[in-house]
Amino acid sequence: MSVIVEGLARRFGTTAALDGVSLAVREGEFVALLGPSGSGKTTLLRVLAGLEPQEEGRVEIAGQEMAGVPARERGIGVVFQNYALFRHMNVFDNIAFGLSVLPRARRPRRAEMAERVRELLRLTQIPELERRWPDQLSGGERQRVALARALAIHPKLLLLDEPFGALDALVRREVRRWLRGLHDRLGITTLLVTHDQEEAMELADRVAVMERGRIAQFDTPAALLAGPTTPFVAGFVGEAARLEGRVAGGVLRFVQPGLPPLAVALPDGPASAFLHPRDVVAHPAPEGPLIRLARATAEGTARLVVELADGATLDAVAEPQGEWPQRQAACRLEITGAQVFAANGARGAAAPLRLAEVR
């Protein structure tokens, strides 16, 4: 079902957890809310679930206005951060809970309920855990039980709050792929809260990057990487390094010495540039910045950490066909591109400067 959020605000004391959030999620879409802790993403999720009151703004789910609708009548499946399984119930009873609390007229009979629970156990690939207790399960198993429990009520919308937080890295990757596959099969509109950009980028159709109670940018992962609209998004998404500089006459010069100037169509004044490691190429040179670390990547190129003259470090790559770089060797840095933001928020893509352009 579609979700429409308009101008949502929620304050805790004097701090605004949500400060005018607007968001439109299409039916069947998988959306990630990505942001650092305290950016309001969990609060947004809780308002959608009906666990937190909305102070200003409007929430519409499947065309229905949600103000005043209590959590239990929303029909939204929620997987909590620590799964919140009922510890005194076994896995079967946990999953059956949502069905067993239905009003008598709509409650399925015992046999139907058991059939539905077994179906969910098969779907989440844990049929052998039916009679186990939550305390006996691993993190990954608990997560599947929590998901099965949320799916039991045929939710219109699925909300996942940092669902991979308690899993170790290997399990996390595997469960992530499986979850995306499950979403594609069931087609339930899903909102995922995470602070892990790799997770958001891999899972979601679109990612809403949140900053201090607002949505900074809402776009596909590819578009976020290619065209961040604010310095915050440029710095938070991807692995870009932030360097300060000054634009004069269409030329950006960095504060740090040893970096070539770039051409950029921005007004004169101070500016921040975001450089991806792949945009910074190191060539062997008799003198210049020093290569501090060099590490091989699966793509066959070397990833470098380069120390600039003022002691700052910058991620870079080695020239594609060159020799394997030596540690402590000097190099010349070539910058092939960067996202640049002027002080007034104007944005421009920088390109290498052709010699003729240098005035």
Binding site: A49, R74, N82, A84, F97, R149
Partner: protein, 283 residues
């Protein structure tokens, strides 16, 4: 696991408390010195009367009435304190209101107050011309002080903090998430309480009930002021023990003590078994 197979003798597991031998020895010593030896004396003393004499001493109608009253009132008070204690713990853990710290401290007052003080205060309050007793007598014709009802009120007062304080940490630990999960799954407040909160609190409630009951059944100080102490009606077993002691009937006093001991032990054992059954159901 594989390491212990490779070693010639059993690898020692590291524990915070010293080994089984020492820990068990010390525990047993204190248990004997403080609990078992005095109890043994209590067990042996009544048999000075002989078995027949013991039986006769215990089946006196006055003794039976006192035991019935003591255990009945204690069980009733603990049962009444159960929902009240849960509510108190709930207020302290979940609600934020001015004066919460004061309420939190006030819960412990019955622990600290000499019970005689509580008895005098309750009597003054509930007696037919007291602040609460007078309107109750005028409106409903209820008499609380100097009747078994007064005993239950006094026992409720001493049992309440036990239940509130045993439930409190478990409630704190339970957190809101389980309740929120139940709400998103469509449970009403009542269903959440009955199927999620209360089952999770059941072991703590049971422990609190046991402690509150144990405290109430042995309570003396507050009860004798409010009870009126009429034989066969409002005379509790601990008072009867004192009366027999004053008559230099040591064996007879010990006989009632023995009966109380066995009955209380039976109740607490039953509660413990119930709790173990609950826990086994969980894990």
């Amino acid at each position: 696991m594989s390491a212990s197979l490779a070693l010639p003798h059993r690898a020692r597991r590291l524990r915070a408390i010293p080994g089984f031998g020492l820990a068990f020895g010390i525990a047993l010593f204190w248990l004997s010195a403080i609990v078992l030896v005095p109890l043994l004396a209590l067990l042996l003393r009544p048999f000075e009367l002989g078995l027949v004499g013991l039986w006769a001493s215990l089946t006196e109608p006055r003794v039976l009435a006192a035991l019935r009253l003591s255990f009945g009132a204690a069980l009733l008070a603990a049962a009444l304190a159960l929902p009240l204690g849960l509510l108190l713990a709930w207020a302290v853990v979940r609600l934020r209101f001015p004066g919460r710290a004061l309420l939190d401290a006030a819960i412990d007052l019955p622990f600290a107050l000499p019970t005689a003080v509580a008895g005098v205060a309750l009597t003054a309050l509930l007696s037919p011309n007291g602040w609460v007793g007078a309107p109750l007598a005028a409106l409903f014709g209820w008499r609380i002080a100097f009747t078994p009802a007064g005993i239950v009120v006094a026992l409720l007062f001493v049992a309440l903090p036990f239940i509130a304080r045993t439930v409190e940490p478990v409630l704190r630990d339970l957190g809101r998430e389980a309740e929120e999960a139940a709400a998103t799954l469509g449970a009403t407040r009542f269903q959440t309480l009955r199927r999620v909160v209360l089952p999770a609190l059941a072991p703590a409630l049971l422990t609190g009930f046991g402690l509150g009951f144990a405290r109430a059944v042995g309570e003396y100080g507050s009860v004798i002021f409010i009870a009126g102490n009429m034989p066969m009606i409002s005379e509790i077993a601990p008072l009867l023990i004192t009366i027999r002691l004053e008559q230099f009937d040591y064996a007879g006093a010990a006989a009632i003590g023995l009966a109380m001991l066995l009955l209380a032990f039976a109740v607490l054992l039953a509660l413990n078994l119930a709790q173990r059954a609950l826990r086994r159901g969980w894990a």
